[in-house]
Assembly symmetry: C2
Homo-oligomer: 160 residues x 2
DNA sequence: TATTGTTATACTCTATAACTATA
DNA sequence: TATAGTTATAGAGTATAACAATA
């Protein structure tokens, strides 16, 4: 379809040159499709713990970002506070997180992971990483280097 | 955090060399996080049409892959037939798709997009592409070349 | 009075089970 | 008898509105 489809490294000058000539919208469209498709595939590799995607996502935030308030969690997951409250209730029932009053502000509630909660997050991460690592292993060193460089760029795009 | 985080091009030998030395699991983990985050961001850029994510996704399949049966659509979206049936009902009510009996098998139903349905798909695609193109425009030519090469690789990973 | 969390209620998406029509 | 679609019903996730407690 495009020049870029015929090569797998960024190190050949021809690839870089042809990429510069292509319209941004076209390049972006292809990148978007590839990213969305891979994300969908990665999402399917989840832990055996019986947690929904939203519960797992909230749990990961709590595990990584330390104690968080309901409001902050809702903000991170882009849902309303009542929705997040319900999600946290499920996680509490499962024993993966605990609620605790904030020492400095009586209105706030701090949610933290329990050890089993952290274990679920680790296990899920391990599974997804294993799936991806298996596929990365089939690539050439040059392709892996390209992906490594692209990772940094993608991270920048997403954070804007 | 890692060597790759300190550069944004794949053309410097040091970046490629350091990438080769890194464990696959670690590189995969970073790539996974970047991909998931960007996908989430892209998903937020949707059309003004009042369609849910699942309706929009099904509509896109129908628009691109031509007339599809309920069963095939359910398979593509990885949901059950009753779920997809309901989604299709909503799309029919909105006037974005139409049902038609299959000429060769009376049990099957073929779902096709209407012109307004196609327009919604185009508009949504345009919006997402615009968001990404705006950000691609801020990158160096080298970074864009890296992303172009990475797109091809990512596509291969997702299709496995 | 504003903010944080919670409860009440309703709507959407999805699933399983059961049913109809066709092959 | 098997397959494609549909209907009935239930459970999970999310939203808005209203309420309680604290700043």
């Amino acid at each position: 379809m495009t020049d870029a489809a015929e090569t797998t490294t960024a190190e050949r000058p021809t690839a870089a040159a042809s990429a510069r000539r292509r319209p941004l919208a076209e390049q972006g469209s292809e990148l978007r499709i590839a990213v969305m498709r891979l994300a969908r595939r990665l999402r399917q590799e989840r832990s055996e713990a019986e947690l929904s995607a939203s519960q797992l996502s909230a749990l990961a935030w709590i595990s990584v970002e330390g104690p968080l308030t309901i409001g902050r969690l809702a903000e991170l997951e882009r849902v309303t506070a009542p929705s997040m409250n319900r999600t946290v209730n499920c996680l509490v029932d499962s024993g993966y997180v605990v609620r605790a009053g904030s020492p400095d502000d009586g209105r706030k509630v701090l949610v933290s992971t329990t050890e089993p909660g952290d274990a679920v997050v680790r296990e899920t991460r391990r599974r997804r990483d294993a799936w991806l690592a298996k596929r990365l292993a089939t690539l050439s060193a040059e392709d892996r280097a390209t992906l490594a460089a692209a990772t940094t760029i993608l991270r920048g795009l997403a954070s804007q």
